[in-house]
Amino acid sequence: MKKSIGLFILFLLVMGLIGTGVIDAETTELKMTIYGSKNDIAIYEERIVLAEEMYPDIDVELIYIPGEYAQKVKTMIAGGQAPDIIMLGEDVHAYSSKGQIIRLDEYIKEYNVDLQERFADSVVAQYSYRGGLYAMPDRSGAMIVYYNKDMFDKAGVDYPDKDWTWDDLVEAGQKLTIREGDEVVQWGFAAGDWWPWWLSFIYQNGGEILNENDQPVVNTPEVIEALQFYNDLVYKYRIAPSLEDFANIGDPGPDPLFAQGKVAFQITGFWNVGSLKNVPELNWDIAPLWGNKKNATVSFGSGLGITKDSKNQEAAFRILEFLTSFEGQLPIVENRQDVPANLELQASDEFVNADWAAGRDINMDVFKESADIILTPPLHPQWNEIMKIFGDNLSEVFMNKRSVEDAVKEIQSRLEFTLF
């Protein structure tokens, strides 16, 4: 569609029939910045073509930024070259808090978008700031449990489910960890120092890192107990590899370790469904995350926001509305890219019964089941700084060289210093 319009315009220009001013008057041109892999670009292009078919008066130019995305977008904004639409991740509120992207609430009302029907509340909450929604959720997949069915069957352990508690996790992990002499030949569980892992455990224990007033609440019994439990999986129960164990097996992450059939269960995102497709001999399925005081998991995804400097905000919203609709999100599913944020699509045959795993019967309902346990991480404007403070202090805990209490105390005081 886009191409044919372009060719037609080119034809008219060549024929000297029109001046460029005429085109400007009829077509609204929007710029949209995206990040991701080359495969992702093609899928965005496909969706944009659909949007342009819906709105022939709007022409969207995709700007793909392969590296240092946030920095480059900020430079574009500062240099008066702000795109109209920007793709956003966990740093959404670095933009919303500065007023660089607009509240979408009025457009949502005007265009009758039923947010509750369209998206999970937890995902909407992630893109909300001080009572307003600043980005339309686009892609959103919860972190889920992947488990090796053969290993569970062999050990006589029930498959993981939402009802699992931390006790169940340890018990299963111990039964599923197999040693030959000193060497572990099969690990029960595998994780590491990445924030979605430990943050889920904190929330499962009723802890959080910032309260509703954005004050740090890290030095609490709930957080300390959760981090201690998480570290105990490695150093006390010995059911998950330590950093040294990972180094000793050639430094694969938990994902490759699971694919190699060396770990019984792990937590990771939707992307692993696609990767595991290439391992036909592995008999696996997925489940929602367990809980302790409650269930909790992190969702990964992206949203789409409109810049304050955009001269065509309404046209931009029409595009966002379409891109987050069932039809606008369908290419995400058809191309096996990700979990769509649109709930109707998540529950549809197109998603649930798609051949995700080469004929393997995977319980795709897990993503929908997980929607109501997705925790809302405090996507504070200083999210990146907050995560750095955690990372700096927890790394020594995860190497078993520092006590949780000591690290948590320092995190609390550094957050207090940084955020106020």
Partner: protein, 466 residues
């Protein structure tokens, strides 16, 4: 117009001689009495290029070795890393990454092999190299489990359990030959390289993974062999691939008393490492093992594309600065000196099957350090902060020469004032690398205190007490 241009050049290229008021004065204080680590030297690896360049014509070979190792004609590197090749075989496609092994069979060697690389090592020594580290990426094929030198299967170590003694003997035999027959100053053997990675055929280069237990065993057996054979060399370990996980290896090596008693440093690579990771790991190391030193033994910017200019040059300058000042390393060793790759590696580029020589800013910026901060110099304290400027300072053993290296990362020129405490030099020389200069001697005269650094430049100030 002409007069104006000359004036302009003077302003940019020379320190500011006349007293003037700075709009925002930036002050750096250098305390010659507050001494940090003693520098052992700067170096480069001979891997992947020496076996090719060593076969070049004498004139072009000389040009390369002069640029790298001659203190007058080049940047005066004093450390050379010779790669004891495993004899790669057919599964390494790139001819530069293919090596020859000296070993013909157990205990039998052909010292005529790898002659090009050995020639470069000898010429490097003649031009100024005083310390050679013989390093290994993989044991030769006969000692490996897979029969290949590119690694094992599924992350297992590729060195056979029954070959630890053979491996140690092989290393000792080769190094003894270099030392005794060739009079080469090989002072360390590094038997293991980046043990944490899952070395396998797909990497296209020699490599061998080791677990921590295996590392301790390899090092221990090698140290015992060195002692038994009365060879005067040390072991350099463990060439960890990054700072983040280096704790694992520091502890495993130095908590072993036998290794601790016989090893004076820990060797780590700066690839993939953040400032914070370096700061944390080095602080931990100094607290735990205060009598041991840290070496940075491999780094190049891991980025595709050829770059001759200040972009990659400044990236390197900042890594050197961090490693010396934040991590406190006593030795800084670059990865390949000569590159034919479409990559930001090499200090000099060439083209395969030619003797082309193209210098980079990386070469000259490394020279900003290596040519002036000589072995035995000690780093001294610099106080003062500026967003765009990074300064480090060093003093010689006689305390009559003080070297300051100043990086200006800004796209604009930057000014600063230097306050020297406990050092009264009376001569100043300035050497600069920038878009237009290659370690150029831009000033020689009396000592001044106010400086203007051109945009994106690295400047070395040499203060001498005559």
């Amino acid at each position: 117009m002409k007069v104006f241009s000359v004036l302009l050049i003077l302003i940019i290229a020379l320190p500011i001689k006349s007293p003037r008021i700075f709009s925002r004065e930036v002050l750096f204080e250098i305390r010659a009495d507050q001494v940090k680590q003693q520098i052992e030297g700067f170096g480069v690896s001979g891997a992947w290029w020496a076996q090719d360049v060593g076969g070049w014509s004498q004139v072009n070979r000389d040009r390369i070795t002069d640029l790298l190792f001659d203190q007058q004609k080049g940047i005066g590197l004093t450390i050379y890393r010779y790669n004891i090749g495993a004899g790669s075989g057919k599964n390494i496609i790139d001819p530069w990454r293919n090596t020859e092994t000296f070993e013909v069979e157990e205990g039998k060697y052909d010292w005529g092999r790898d002659e090009n690389a050995v020639r470069i090592m000898k010429e490097a020594h003649q031009k100024g190299v005083t310390n050679i580290i013989a390093f290994v990426n993989s044991p030769p094929a006969r000692m490996t489990k897979t029969g290949y030198v590119t690694g094992g299967k599924e992350g297992k170590s590729n060195l056979r359990e029954d070959m630890y003694d053979d491996f140690a003997q092989y290393l000792v035999d080769i190094v003894r030959h270099f030392r005794e027959d060739e009079s080469l100053p090989v002072k360390w053997i590094s038997p293991i390289n980046e043990p944490q990675w899952n070395w396998n055929n797909s990497k296209g280069q020699e490599g061998c993974h080791y677990t921590t237990d295996e590392i301790v065993e390899v090092i221990k057996v090698l140290l015992e062999k060195i002692e038994e054979e009365k060879l005067d060399v040390g072991v350099s370990a463990v060439d960890a691939g990054e700072w983040k996980t280096s704790y694992i290896y520091m502890d495993r090596l130095f908590l072993n008393k036998y290794i601790n008693d016989r090893t004076d440093h820990f060797a780590v690579h700066s690839y993939w490492s953040t400032t914070r990771q370096k700061e944390k790991a080095s602080r931990y190391f100094r607290e735990q093992y205060p009598d041991k030193k840290l070496w940075m033994t491999e780094w190049t910017e891991m980025k595709k594309g050829v770059d001759y200019g200040m972009d990659s040059g400044l990236t390197m300058a900042n890594v050197i600065h961090e490693d010396l000042v934040i991590a406190g390393v006593t030795s800084w060793q670059y990865w390949i000196a000569v590159s034919k790759y479409n990559y930001r590696d090499g200090l000099i580029y060439t083209d395969q099957y030619t003797e082309n020589i193209r210098e980079t800013k990386r070469l000259w910026i490394l020279g900003n350090y290596s040519k002036f901060i000589r072995p035995g110099y000690k780093r001294i304290k610099v106080s003062g902060q500026h967003n765009d400027l990074r300064l480090s300072a060093y003093i010689n053993g006689d305390r009559d020469r003080l070297v300051v290296v100043a990086i200006n990362n800004s796209k604009k020129s930057r000014e600063f004032v230097l306050d020297l405490v406990n050092f009264d030099g009376n001569k100043l020389d300035i050497y600069r690398t920038s878009e237009t200069e290659n370690l150029e001697h831009t000033y020689s005269g009396k000592v001044i205190k106010e400086f203007k650094l051109p945009a994106r430049s690295v400047t070395t100030l040499v203060l001498t007490r005559l």
